[in-house]
């Protein structure tokens, strides 16, 4: 369904072209969950962003991305907007940045359904409540009327997940969806995401720095380093017989990444 | 020097050059001004530009070029007083506030809040009402009204610096507060003070020129750019715009140059202005 062929990207930083991605190729079949694992700066997020055409303005992209045979980079205007609204949904790392801080949560959900997907406003409003129920939120009216800064990261990420599954897209792009969250809610949010995906039969491209986490939710995994995919395989194979030295490093550094993750959480909370 | 030029960028270097010319002109005015700026001749009224009178003459027959040169002096001295007094008092007050903390800090911030309640020009006009119009009164009153801006920035910066290890360690060793403050804090907040001064100089120049324009700061027959704009207003309406336009242009050039330099160095935040 999703076919990324030889994707390369460079970004101009002060007159110098910095390579971000080199010949990245990967495929996601319908209903399949694919992992993209690497440390920060390895180009995982940029791969996801170029699928939705939201790469930085100063980036040059080459290669081919097709979605059910449709060339994503040839899409313009209304066609691109429709693809974004109905076919692919993204869950980004920091939900506090994704929701507009001056609008209540309800507006975020209605915007996605009414303004992007064309669902009548009334219907969108009713559906917003149902969606929150689906992602395990209990005090629905309270959450709908809240502003983003009043909710925890975990709660807010559930709202983002609810928004992402609202249009039942073919493909979910998840970019470190639990990294910015409190350690205690990480597992919960991950479980909800995985459950929703399976229930609705959506495919997922899951980006993380945590090989163990990827192994638990993905059918196949791509390991990425310095903008290139260095190893790919099924989780058991990567875990038990990693071939590339970097994959081994990722396996061994697991406790450290957990610590790193909790430091990140502290930073985000501080912000 | 090279690092500074790089930070300023090509336009910034040009701006610094313009400001330098104005300063040199002001310093050398007695040597290079061809005429006495205060004495004119009735037969020489409203002359156009010529080799004798580069910028022409005003309604009293005075040489405008000489008046611009001499005017640079009073136009620069006022803001210089403001920036110096504000810099010294603002920094002193901020450091006192940070050093003593507690009741001293809150008393000082109450007083600064009270100063914030008066628009700058209003405070200056009240001082002038009491002490009579003069450049010194105007400049000193404006200095006082600028103190809260400077003190606020320096205070928050110093508060951060104070908690850093290098300031704390000598404190533990028992060296007196004043010495520590002078040795460590002042050099570290100095760049901020200088950037703030650059920006405040421009603000002060415009506000003192405005007071001179109102007849409340520099007094005639002295040459001063703000006064010249006001003095030339009648001539301008009669079709002789040279005096007002040239004096105004020099104010704009000087303020714009300084503003650009300050912006490149650290922005208006360093002057404690929200904008």
């Amino acid at each position: 369904m999703l076919d990324v062929q030889n994707l390369s990207m460079t970004i101009m930083i002060e007159d110098a072209a910095v390579p971000i991605l080199r010949d990245v190729s990967l495929q996601v079949a319908a209903g399949e969950s694919i992992g993209l694992v690497g440390e920060s700066g390895s180009g995982k997020s940029m791969t996801l962003r170029s699928i939705l055409r939201i790469e930085p303005e100063n980036a040059t992209v080459s290669g081919r991305i097709t979605l059910d045979g449709l060339d994503v980079h040839s899409l313009r205007g209304e066609a691109l907007r429709r693809m974004r609204a109905t076919d692919v949904a993204m869950i980004a790392q920091n939900p506090h940045a994704v929701l507009n801080p001056v609008l209540p949560v309800e507006r975020y959900l209605i915007e996605g359904m009414h303004d992007a997907q064309g669902v009548p406003r009334r219907q969108a409003r009713l559906r917003a409540g149902e969606l929150l129920e689906q992602v395990g939120i209990e005090r629905i009216d309270l959450v709908l009327g809240s502003y983003p800064h009043q909710l925890s990261g975990g709660m807010l990420q559930r709202v983002v997940i609810a928004g992402a599954i609202a249009g039942e897209p073919k493909l979910l792009l998840a970019d470190e969806p639990t990294t910015a969250l409190d350690v205690t809610t990480q597992a919960e949010v991950m479980a909800i995401l995985d459950e929703c995906r399976r229930e609705l039969g959506m495919a997922m491209l899951f980006v993380t720095h945590d090989l163990d986490l990827a192994a638990s939710v993905c059918d196949r995994i791509n390991v990425m380093k310095d903008g290139e995919i260095v190893e790919r395989g099924v989780p058991e194979q990567l875990r038990d017989h990693p071939e590339h030295p970097y994959t081994r490093v990722l396996m061994e550094s697991r406790p450290a990444t957990v610590m790193w993750a909790s430091n990140r959480e502290a930073e985000v909370a501080h912000d | 020097m090279k690092a500074l030029a790089k930070r300023l960028g090509p336009i910034g270097v040009g701006a610094a050059f313009i400001f330098a010319i104005v300063v040199v002109g002001a310093l050398l005015a007695p040597l290079i001004a061809p005429y006495d700026p205060t004495i004119g001749s009735v037969t020489q009224r409203f002359q156009g530009p010529s080799l004798d009178h580069l910028f022409g003459t005003d309604q009293a027959g005075r040489d405008i070029f000489s008046r611009i040169l001499w005017g640079a002096r009073s136009s620069l001295v006022g803001p210089l007083i403001v920036v110096a007094v504000t810099g010294v008092l603002g920094t002193g007050i901020a450091l006192t506030s940070v050093w003593w903390g507690g009741a001293v800090d809150s008393a000082i911030s109450r007083v600064l809040d009270l100063l914030f309640a008066f628009p700058n020009l209003l405070l200056a006009m009240l001082a002038i009402a009491v002490f009579g119009p003069s450049l010194t009164t105007a400049a000193l009153a404006l200095s006082i009204s600028y103190i809260p801006y400077t003190a606020r920035v320096i205070r928050s910066m110093a508060l951060r610096e104070r908690n850093l290890a290098y300031v704390r360690s000598p404190q533990l060793q028992g060296i007196s507060g004043a010495v520590i403050t002078a040795r460590h804090l002042v050099p570290n907040v100095a760049p901020l003070i200088i950037t703030g001064a650059t920006i405040n100089f421009g603000f002060a120049m415009i506000e003192i020129a405005a007071l001179s324009f109102l007849g409340l700061a520099v007094q005639p027959p002295l040459a001063d750019w703000g006064l010249m704009v006001s003095n030339g207003q009648q001539s301008l309406l009669k079709g002789y715009p040279a005096e007002s336009m040239l004096a105004g242009l020099f104010i704009v050039l000087t303020v714009a140059s300084l503003g650009y330099i300050g912006e490149r160095l650290g922005g208006r935040a360093a002057a404690g202005r929200r904008s």
Partner: protein, 315 residues
């Protein structure tokens, strides 16, 4: 925003007003030279006449008594008599207020409408339009209001004859016509700053995660622009606009004087020159009050558009 916050701010403002009126009164009291000398204006008069004047203006009362009398009168709206022409200060102010208010209001509208519009254009367009707006805002900020007044006057009044040179006009339409150039001159430096701040804010919001993600969710570009980019960029802009509108109060003195408008500003300038302390005191208090009230309104407005301020930032 909790009501308690508003009440506390109002109380603080009242406190500031009381302390400032005391300080202003004390400063005038301590001014060198005795008030009766201003009154007789250099004429030689007999000691009896001087004594009569001192009695008429209660100059022999102790300082605190005089302050108390003045202060309680001000609270009742009685600002006393002008020392120079014996007119009631309250009447003088009432006659002058409409001109100043219209001037400040027109300038405020220009700052908000033009400043924000130019900033939005500069923030969204790259190329010539943006370059012109950056240059214009850099220079515009450096143009003193009194110089802008002269330039506008010489181009549009003397040169083209489109607007009157002096005076404030009678009736609403005529007044606006008379005050257009003065308002433009008064607004110019602030307009330049607001345009630049708006431009920066728009550029930042364009790249903000919530705007990018809204596009990525297929929200139409028009809605992303209005709902995410422009709306959110107004948060920093609103405080700057507020500071500048409050600042117009003082700037108005200079522009009124340049255009010889009969507003509060010209009255203050003349009163300062003549040492007419009754008028100076009254205007100072009114301006401090207006300045404080505008600043308070701006903070309330800011709170009303940013829920993080309104509802507290605690999660």
């Amino acid at each position: 925003m909790p009501l308690i916050f508003v009440v506390r701010r109002l109380a603080a403002l009242i406190g500031v007003l009381i302390v400032s009126s005391f300080l202003v009164f004390a400063a005038m009291y301590a001014a060198p030279g005795s008030p009766e000398n201003f009154l007789v204006q250099g004429r030689t008069v007999t000691p009896e006449v001087l004594a009569a004047i001192r009695k008429q203006y209660s100059l022999d009362d102790p300082f605190f008594v005089r302050f108390w009398n003045w202060f309680t009168n001000v609270l009742q709206g009685n600002f006393g008599q002008s020392l120079s022409n014996r007119q009631d200060v309250g009447d003088l102010l009432a006659n002058r207020l409409p001109t100043t208010l219209t001037l400040v209001l027109l300038a405020a509208i220009l700052i908000v409408v033009l400043g924000i519009a130019l900033g939005v254009i500069g923030g969204l367009r790259d190329g010539v339009a943006d370059k012109i707006i950056i240059l214009g805002s850099n220079v515009g900020f450096a143009v003193p209001t009194f110089f802008a007044a002269l330039i506008l006057m010489s181009i549009f009044s003397v040169g083209l004859g489109w607007f009157p040179v002096f005076g404030s006009g009678v009736g609403v339409v005529d007044r606006i016509w008379h005050l257009t150039l003065p308002a433009l001159a008064l607004a110019l430096p602030s307009l330049a700053v607001v345009a630049r701040i708006t431009r920066t804010a728009i550029r930042e919001e364009r790249h903000s995660e919530h705007a990018v993600m809204a596009s990525a969710r297929g929200v139409p570009a028009r809605l992303v622009l209005g709902r995410h980019i422009i709306r959110n960029s107004m948060l920093p802009v609103s405080t700057v606009v507020g500071v500048h509108i409050a600042g117009l109060i003082a700037g108005a003195f200079v522009v009124e004087y340049a255009f010889t408008l009969d507003g509060i500003g010209t009255l203050l300038v003349n009163a300062v020159q003549k040492k007419d302390f009754a008028v100076v005191q009254a205007i100072a208090i009114i301006l401090v009050a207006a300045f404080g009230i505008i600043n308070l309104l701006v903070d309330l407005l800011y709170a009303s558009i940013d829920p993080r301020v309104r509802l507290g930032a605690a999660r």
